[in-house]
Symmetry: C2
Subunit: 510 residues, 2 copies
């Protein structure tokens, strides 16, 4: 019996050589896939992936914005621990724009650094977003290969006030967006997803040939505004350009999974699909997706900002057609990947992610809360089906009056507030089973309220009592640190002259 | 080639003896099934039914309220034609409360009346809702058997001011709700769905034994407030009592389909599942469902009020796993059923339903508009992916100030208006592919707007020019016509004394 327990343990069951493939979408919402109820049902490959694997309905990001979410995924830790937050504005979202001085601290241990110990080759394709100054380069943080860019594909810029974003191959830049990597803002045409697809197929083939286990982090960004798709996908969706981008991604994921099957390594490759934060409703409907029945979107700690589409696929291991209500987090991908590699998570620091293999392989349900942070503030907590809001905020009246709306068409009195409202003494409580849209707060006087809030308050106390915030990395901005002269620019004649250094507090309006 | 065309035609392909089973839900929303994206995914049997059949994503009711919707389904005609509307309040929803004087006119031809000509035995189980005075009895309009009630299961009433609603078996009442058919409003317990299930199973068995084709109209109402479920389903859902009711329905549908299979008649029985109108958000979350990503709910002509979950199932005929974007309507079930029976629709009147068999069997897409009526007003029209609103209204300021909210948590400026707003000169236009939630009206100045509105305006002109409204049946109310002494009451000692007749204009606040 003792042997039995160990032989069947998740770490042992998954040989150390299991490949890991994370498909991370950008600003894709819970409601964007057919399997999650998107009314146009245009994602046959992802729906098939779900039908062959496990669909997670209650999967969350660690932050409703890109950089902190990605830092959390790769460190297994909340942004408030790994430094991806700001203290220069209460409860405001911070990220890594071009002029950010900070980035991922050397003291953080990233998933690829740890996987190296188990012999993995690690590649990032697409968006890094953990800082772009030399010390933050992904190849200094565990990755062996990179094709992609340090920032979003915003632009085009004039290269005088602000340089266009570089695209790297490994250590050096190979061009810039809008110059060498075209994006046509008028038509929405760009072939970047095809480049990222080909990179993935080639890397997988190479690794299969070399018999080396791999970690591939496919962090593409076609669904982030400005949204783009390749010519052959333009106009193919009922949903407009955003839908075209989703169709191309769906097609690409189908090709990647088929490639794994054709190489005979699908049963040895754990694939997980999710997104970095909720759909950017502010850009919808032409440049943004859907959060289905949920409230608000990106930038907020309502369900629409943080609940993500998620699918685990691993033929021969995950029984087909499973649906899990496990409360999951992008941070769990850190711990789960370590478990797949037969590694232990670091014991010298708090890890927020949990190992999902018992959930995925054995259908277990693990009781754990979800913490919803916005910047340096714990805004809300979910435990079971209850969600308590300790702070509510959509955005400021000033921003809202400029037409910046994170909750278009939605307005719940006292909930989608335009001032930062504190509810720490009497949190707003929702039952996400009866009310996934967070529209009907429970009565403060009800017994149900009192029991649920008592339970959640205990979790919050415990969390806050043991929380050691990391050094905030996202406080200071300086236009001298922008991507003027990335490594490799000399060879290409693409070095630009940086202005003088002038560090400032970054401005975080949300 | 001539023979080929006819031999393969839909009517010929489906032998005249095909059984027809319509599963009509009450106030169930598009977002209530797992297959449509409900976040708790608790409908395995319905999801399986969809996986084995055809899922309709763009299926509509003919009216956002129960009685007119059901009258439209059974006549194949818009309520404005069959008389199920009012002229005593502009654009107001009318139905058949206990004191309604009107009901389905004898001049209307109902589906069961027509199916009789092809030898069908017709049964209605559940809610009739087409009038309760003797001349409106379902057995006078083509049904051979009935187990159910003429009205909603509202109550309990005191039998002095207002009688409890009777439950009929065929021609006579067999008891009343809350008296002989218990509904516990505190716990939500009622075993009615089990009774309706058993009726269905028994009827199907009897018909199979007698080798007679049947039309079974299973019009159950557990998801209409006050929502109920049987004891064994109470507390089984993550969604509360409403979810318990859905689980019991899901379980029942599973049992009915399995019964057809076990009797060996599943390949000879066309089954269609849908709902009478959108989820009643005013009763949500405890007593109402979900309209997924759509705007508002029951009583409104926004998508949440009129887009319905819909599944066609017919093993051996419908290929498994199909998804259709055909714009469908409950009125199509009239024409489709006739086609299945090898019958022609009546040629002496306008029929709004179309035969969906080419869609269902051959995957065709038929171009047709959807008309959204509220009472006597054409509020909106959908053609392709565009929807033009000619009138907008949620409900009156007066009603809204009392807390009656058809769009809780949702508010789109100029769209979810609390006054009746006319837009006939410049309709509000939405693209339901990019924007299923009707949140982002297209710019009046855009070429896209002008082209789409020009097209839709042509359809409206044509529709209005040829429209002959029926005599409105829902104008007059009289408490003397309530269910005081239904046939059969003498045997049961359940006759009540009616008050004096005092006909009044009915009051339709919405």
């Amino acid at each position: 019996p003792l042997c039995l327990c160990c032989a069947l343990g998740p770490a042992a069951a998954s040989a150390a050589a299991t490949n890991i493939l994370l498909l991370l979408m950008d600003d894709m919402g819970w409601g964007d896939l057919g399997a999650f109820g998107e009314p146009s049902k245009e994602t046959p490959n992802l729906d098939q992936m779900a039908a062959e694997g496990m669909l997670f309905l209650d999967f969350y990001t660690a932050n409703p914005l890109c950089s902190p979410s990605r830092a959390a995924l790769l460190t297994g830790r909340l942004p408030v621990r790994n430094g991806f937050y700001t203290t220069n504005g209460h409860a405001r979202n911070a990220y890594t724009p071009q002029d950010i001085v900070g980035g991922i601290p050397d003291s953080e241990l990233l998933l690829p650094e740890l996987l190296k110990k188990a012999g993995y080759t690690n590649k990032i394709i697409g968006k890094w977003h953990l800082g772009h100054r030399p010390q933050f380069h992904p190849l200094r943080h565990g990755f062996d290969e990179w094709f992609g860019s340090p920032n979003c594909h915003f632009g085009p810029y004039d290269n005088r006030e602000r340089p266009n974003i570089p695209v790297y191959r490994d250590w050096e830049m190979v061009g810039r967006y809008y110059e060498d990597f075209k994006i046509d803002l008028k038509t929405g045409e760009a072939n970047l997803t095809q480049l990222y697809l080909q990179e993935a197929l080639d890397f997988i083939s190479k690794q299969q040939a070399s018999q080396q286990p791999f970690f591939l982090y496919w962090a593409i960004d076609a669904t982030h505004a400005p949204v783009y798709a390749s010519k052959q996908f333009l106009g193919t969706s009922q949903r407009g350009l955003y839908g075209d981008a989703v169709r191309e991604i769906d097609d690409s994921v189908g090709k990647i999974l088929k490639h794994l099957q054709q190489l005979g390594i699908s049963e040895n490759t754990f694939v997980f699909f999710t997104s970095d934060n909720g759909a950017a409703l502010i850009s919808a409907p032409k440049q943004g997706g859907s959060n289905g029945p949920f409230l608000c979107g990106k930038q907020t700690t309502f369900e629409g900002g943080m609940r993500e589409p998620a699918i685990a696929w691993w033929p021969g291991h995950i029984p087909a057609g499973r649906v899990s209500h496990q409360l999951g987090s992008v941070m769990d991908l850190f711990s789960t990947s370590l478990s797949l590699a037969g590694l232990q998570p670091p014991s010298d620091r708090q890890i927020d992610g949990i190992d999902l293999l018992p959930v995925i392989l054995q259908g277990k349900l693990i009781d754990r809360p979800i913490f919803y942070y916005r910047g340096n503030e714990l805004m809300a907590v979910r435990a079971g089906l209850y969600k308590a809001h300790y702070w509510t905020w959509s955005n400021s009246l000033e921003e809202h009056s400029k037409g910046i709306d994170f909750c278009p068409g939605q307005s719940v009195a006292g909930v989608t507030t335009h001032t930062q409202e504190e509810h720490t003494c009497l949190p707003l409580l929702f039952h996400l089973g009866r009310d996934p849209g967070e529209k009907y707060p429970l009565s403060f006087a009800s017994e149900e309220y009192q029991q649920a809030v008592e339970h959640i308050s205990g979790l919050v106390q415990q969390h806050k009592a043991t929380l050691v915030p990391g050094q905030p990395q996202l406080n200071v901005c300086d236009q001298a640190v922008m991507n003027w002269s990335p490594p490799g620019c000399e060879k290409l004649g693409k070095c630009l002259k940086a202005p003088e250094s002038d560090p400032q507090k970054c401005s975080w309006p949300h």
